[in-house]
């Protein structure tokens, strides 16, 4: 997974803002990548491009050696469904559905999973994240940390190669922060690429690679 000369610019009232400036970066499995940086520096923009939720203005994006810089919306959805899992600061759980139902949602479009298996797969994923006694709880009945673990379970459910977490601990207390970073670290060791955007210095202790975003320029800080 590789980005080459990625630029992203917005035109706001005939003012051109360049949010990403010549970003070059390569990601390898079994690694935990952390991206830090000031607010508004372009971190979310970058990971949204990586997650195919946004498109770069120019540059090349290679996934599995294939250039996927300009794909149709459906082709992007296919890649997202199979290879990318997202975790957000605000969890993005459906508050009317139980933890189990939330985690099952991505399984509906996984052709490799039979209808009868969905529940079992989701249950074991929640168990793996330590939520075996919270299966039928709705998000409102869970703590912030638990909610985020449900979101992680949902991100992992279709066994994606890439996990993208934008500020995953933004709404959590210290104990939960550490828990989440540990979990993400463990996940990365299952032959996955984990990319985490965070303001939280704790991430430094867990990541394999540390990058810093500064006004749209991405710089490797530590290996």
């Amino acid at each position: 997974m590789k980005l080459e000369h990625i630029y992203k610019e917005y035109n706001l009232n005939s003012n051109k803002i360049i949010v990403l400036k010549d970003v070059n970066i390569e990601f390898k499995p079994n690694n935990f990548y952390a991206i830090m940086g000031r607010s508004g520096s372009g971190k979310s923009t970058l990971v949204n491009i990586l997650g195919l939720l946004d498109e770069a203005s120019s540059g090349n994006y290679y996934l599995n050696e294939k250039n996927i810089s300009s794909l149709s919306a459906d082709a992007k959805s296919d890649i997202i469904a199979k290879q990318i899992g997202f975790v957000f600061q605000s969890f993005y759980l459906n508050n009317s559905l139980t933890a189990l139902e939330n985690v099952m949602l991505p399984l509906y479009i996984n052709k490799g999973v039979k209808k009868e298996e969905r529940k079992n797969i989701a249950t074991s994923m929640l168990k793996k994240l330590g939520l075996s006694d919270r299966l039928n709880h709705k998000p409102k009945e869970l703590s912030g940390g638990e909610q985020q673990r449900v979101a992680i379970a949902r991100a992992l459910i279709n066994n994606p190669k890439i996990i993208i977490a934008d500020e995953p601990t933004g709404n959590l207390d210290t104990a939960n922060e550490i828990e989440i970073f540990k979990t993400l670290k463990d996940i990365s060791k299952e032959n996955k690429i984990v990319i985490v955007v965070s303001h939280n210095p704790v991430v430094i202790d867990y990541c394999d690679y540390l990058y810093e975003m500064n006004d749209g320029i991405l710089k490797e800080v530590r290996r």
Binding site: G51, A81, K82, E101, L105, P106, Y108, I109
Partner: protein, 410 residues
């Protein structure tokens, strides 16, 4: 993707906005119900009018003034005109029906009955047995009130004439001779057996109970032999002089044609029973306009509703997008979600409509003045509305899921 999966995803979506879904369903339910009631009401009234115009033959009778001419001559003249749609010419209104005594061997039928000829244009709704096929046969009202008063609505005392199908009844009448000085003498008493071959639903035919239709030729014979015999021809003409000749038409809608033909040939005509159908026409118009307003108005409401809920569902759409659902699938989930709610409202209203009908029918049935009004059900408005709203939902969602709108949200 399997339809069951789409359905369960739509169901999860409904769960996501339970309250709004309920309100949406409720609003549509009322529209469905309202349209069902409007169309049913309109059908009830027009079929009632139709029943008047076609099953009560009095509405299909044109009266012809004979002036100074001789009655027999006028009848012959009209017959020779060969006007289409005329099924019978009665010499006067006393020939239209006759009232006689009625009895049977079992002796449970004893009373009086109105007899009508089974001419073309006289319609009744058969509810058992068969139609009249030959002379001597009769089709009677399904109930018989065994007293001297007919048209009494005490249903508990009535005899079920369906049990008499295939059996004989006897009608008894006396022909008498009438003299200038006012005296009468009995000439002959007739006891005519009639075979009951069927019964008709008298409540749907606007005759009373205690009525029978008799084979044409038998009826003609009964009329001939029951008519009083006058002392001489002048007296007969004098007795009948103010009575018009009656012309029975096969169908109500052909009445104007026949009237027109008669007038063209110089006859002065009038109607036996006049029926003012303006209220029916007005009601039908009101229903049409009201329905159209409901269609247009409710599509606007549905549109606004979906639009508002939809804005709230943007989070759900974003969620679907980042777990890899394609746009087509998301659109489909929403369309199925709203179609499902619409369908549930449709089914609920469709179940409630016959219940309302039953209740209203019961009220009407127990009211003697209204018992002839049969409450009809019409699902046409409801069905049209289902198709209409479903199409509207599809169009609205395809519009909303357009690229421009999607970009606005991300």
């Amino acid at each position: 993707m399997k339809i069951t999966d789409i359905l369960s995803l739509s169901y999860l979506n409904i769960k996501t906005s339970k309250f709004k879904a309920f309100i949406y369903g409720l609003i549509l339910f009322f529209f469905f119900l309202l349209l069902g009631l409007l169309f049913s009401g309109s059908k009830t009234i027009s079929s009632f009018a139709d029943r008047y115009t076609n099953t009560d033959f009095h509405y299909k009778v044109a009266m012809v003034d004979i002036g100074d001419a001789k009655r027999e001559d006028v009848i012959k003249e009209i017959e020779s005109l060969n006007i289409p749609h005329i099924s019978k010419i009665f010499s006067s209104n006393i020939d239209i029906f006759t009232t006689t005594k009625i009895s049977n061997v079992e002796n449970d039928i004893n009373g009086i009955v109105e007899l009508y000829g089974n001419y073309q244009g006289i319609e009744y709704v058969l509810d058992s047995g068969r139609d009249i096929e030959e002379a001597g046969e009769a089709v009677c009202a399904s109930s018989f009130y065994p007293g001297l008063l007919s048209h009494v609505n005490d249903k508990s005392e009535m005899i079920d004439m369906k049990t008499k199908v295939g059996k004989d009844i006897f009608i008894k009448y006396t022909q008498y001779k009438s003299f200038f000085n006012g005296e009468t003498i009995d000439l002959n008493t007739y006891n005519v057996p009639l075979k009951v071959v069927g019964t008709f639903d008298w409540e749907k035919s606007l005759t009373g109970s205690n009525a029978c239709y008799v084979a044409e030729e038998t009826f003609d014979e009964i009329i001939k032999t029951s008519r009083p015999v006058y002392e001489n021809a002048e007296m007969e003409e004098d007795k009948l002089k103010d009575l018009d000749i009656l012309v029975l038409v096969d169908k109500y809608e052909n009445l104007p044609i026949v009237l027109d033909e008669l007038q063209k040939n110089g006859y002065e005509t009038s109607l036996y029973y006049k029926l003012d159908l303006t209220p029916v026409v007005v009601i039908e118009k009101v229903v049409t306009y009201l329905s159209i307003s409901i269609f247009i108005g409710s599509v606007f409401i549905v549109y606004q509703f979906i639009k508002n809920t939809y804005r709230e569902n943007v989070n759900q759409i974003k969620l679907y997008k980042f777990i890899g659902y394609k746009k087509k699938l998301i659109t489909l989930i929403f369309i199925v979600q709203y179609s499902l709610l619409t369908f549930i409202s449709f089914i609920t209203a469709s179940i409630i409509l016959p219940i309302i009908r039953l209740i209203v029918s019961n009220i009407f049935y127990n009211n003697p003045n209204l018992s002839a009004l049969e409450i009809k059900l019409s699902y046409m408005g409801v069905n049209l509305y289902l198709i209409f709203v479903t199409l509207a939902i599809i169009i609205i969602f395809f519009r909303f899921m357009s690229k421009k709108n999607i970009e606005k949200w991300s």
